[in-house]
């Protein structure tokens, strides 16, 4: 499914990583680990097509993907550091805007059901400004539930989540993988997934 060959990236004049090759098959999650500043976020952004690698290539379903390739954009759900929420809008408005932006169509009922599932049902009418970091993350989880994507790229998905939130995330990823999805996650905390589904990649 997702394949990288000889990937290299640099930030300024420092080489972050080079010669990185891996393959993630359907139903597998690639867990990227490494100390701060080793290029986890850069690798994830490169895989998502936000930046071009300085060397190497990325293939999705065997096809070469250049940055912003439409095919990859239709297959991808990217959850970066920032949760992409507008402070002025309510949780419900934020979620439905994010789903629509991803090309999905969610009615009011399914939006509310998704917010209920991440325990934000009673806070759906609050502006995102007053939500905690963990609650903001949970809106991102609700979005993953609502949009249909084969490839999930998650940057530090466990950050700011409490135990219940982390369990929600693990459950979500497990269902995604069981459905033949692919995931890449950069994380320091364990994801709580079965070993056989996980492939590890440690950045030097």
């Amino acid at each position: 499914m997702l394949e990288a060959q000889n990937l290299a990236a640099r930030r300024g004049c420092s080489q972050l990583f080079s010669g990185l090759s891996f393959r993630v098959a359907a139903g597998e999650v690639l867990v990227v680990t490494g100390a701060n500043g080793t290029g986890k976020t850069t690798l994830l952004r490169t895989l998502a097509g936000l930046t071009a690698p300085s060397e190497g290539e990325i293939r999705w379903n065997g096809k070469l993907q250049l940055p912003f390739a439409p095919e990859l954009r239709r297959a991808l759900a990217f959850a970066g550091h920032a949760p992409a929420l507008k402070d002025e809008l309510t949780a419900e408005e934020n979620l439905s805007l994010l789903v629509e932006l991803a090309g999905g169509r969610a009615g009011r009922a399914s939006i509310r059901a998704a917010l209920d599932a991440v325990a934000l049902g009673r806070r759906r009418a609050l502006p995102a400004r007053v939500l905690s970091q963990g609650q903001r993350r949970r809106i991102g989880l609700a979005k993953l539930r609502l949009i249909e994507r084969r490839l999930w790229i998650l940057d530090e998905p466990v950050t700011a989540l409490d135990a219940a939130g982390a369990a929600l995330l693990a459950n979500l990823v497990a269902v995604h993988l069981a459905g033949g999805g692919v995931a890449v996650a950069a994380t320091h905390a364990p994801l709580g997934l079965p070993e056989e589904r996980m492939r590890a990649l440690a950045l030097p």
Partner: protein
């Protein structure tokens, strides 16, 4: 945990061929489709509605910009002589320069907010065509900052003793010219994303591009008052607007993608 699975994900374009027809959307209204297979109108509508809604929730900021415009225009008669003839001569120019500055003042917010909170990442990774999303944002920017300037201009022009017909010509020229300001400004706003001195660099980048609009816009009132036909000036403003409409969303979209790196 249940997940809706209505169609295989791989074959499902965002608004692609498999999209069901909506009520009232027949063969008479074909959906415009770009080369990437995404429909343009839903993308424009998404960005337009979203930015308008956010603008409505932060009305105070819009009010400040409009007040800035009003004050700048009002300062000139106070600072110069209250001589009728002089005011009439410089009025259109002052109103145009103030419109330029008001547009410039609001431009950094066009993309910077979305850039800071991660929305811009989601926008460039969306299956919707990026120029259409950017175009919708520009349209919302004009509706919230350019249109109020146009509507206020006749009232503010009274301070310069401009006759009613000249005020109408002024408003008409601003109506055609200010969208061009938003469109050109969006390119500059996207190019200066993430830069430390972004605001001042934006002014240096964009103001020279505004000059032709300024010349033909402010000039149209003088020509009208001299009793000549203004169709030439307005046509040039219109031509500039058309060029900007066709080109600016693509240029701004390309600049937004560069800013992601």
């Amino acid at each position: 945990m249940r997940r809706p699975r209505d169609a295989p994900a791989a074959s499902r374009g965002p608004w692609g061929a498999a999209r069901p027809m909506l009520a009232g959307e027949g063969a008479a209204a074909p959906v415009a489709v770009d080369e990437e297979g995404g429909a343009i109108w839903p993308a424009i509508r998404w960005a337009l509605c979203r930015d308008l809604r956010i603008a409505l929730r932060s009305r105070a900021e819009l009010g400040v910009q409009l007040l800035f415009y009003v004050i700048v225009v009002t300062l000139f008669p106070l600072a110069t002589t209250p001589e009728r003839q002089l005011l009439m001569t410089m009025g259109p120019g002052v109103l145009w320069v103030a419109a330029l500055l008001a547009s410039l003042l609001s431009l950094p917010r066009l993309f910077a907010g979305d850039f800071a909170d991660g929305t811009l990442e989601q926008i460039v990774l969306s299956p919707h065509p990026l120029p259409a999303l950017v175009g919708g944002k520009i349209l919302a920017h004009w509706l919230t900052t350019g249109l109020p300037v146009v509507l206020l201009a006749p009232a503010l022009g009274l301070q310069y003793a401009l006759p009613a017909d000249a005020l109408l010509v002024l408003a008409l020229a601003l109506l055609i010219g200010t969208p061009t300001l938003s469109l050109l400004g969006a390119i500059g706003a996207a190019l200066t994303l993430g830069l430390r001195a972004g605001g001042s660099l934006l002014a240096l980048l964009v103001l020279p591009l505004y000059i032709p609009v300024l010349i033909f816009g402010a000039g149209s009132v003088d020509i009208w008052r001299a009793g000549l036909a203004i169709s030439g000036n307005l046509s040039l403003l219109g031509a500039g607007l058309l060029l900007a409409v066709v080109g600016a969303p693509f240029a701004a979209a390309a600049a937004v993608r560069i800013a992601m790196d």
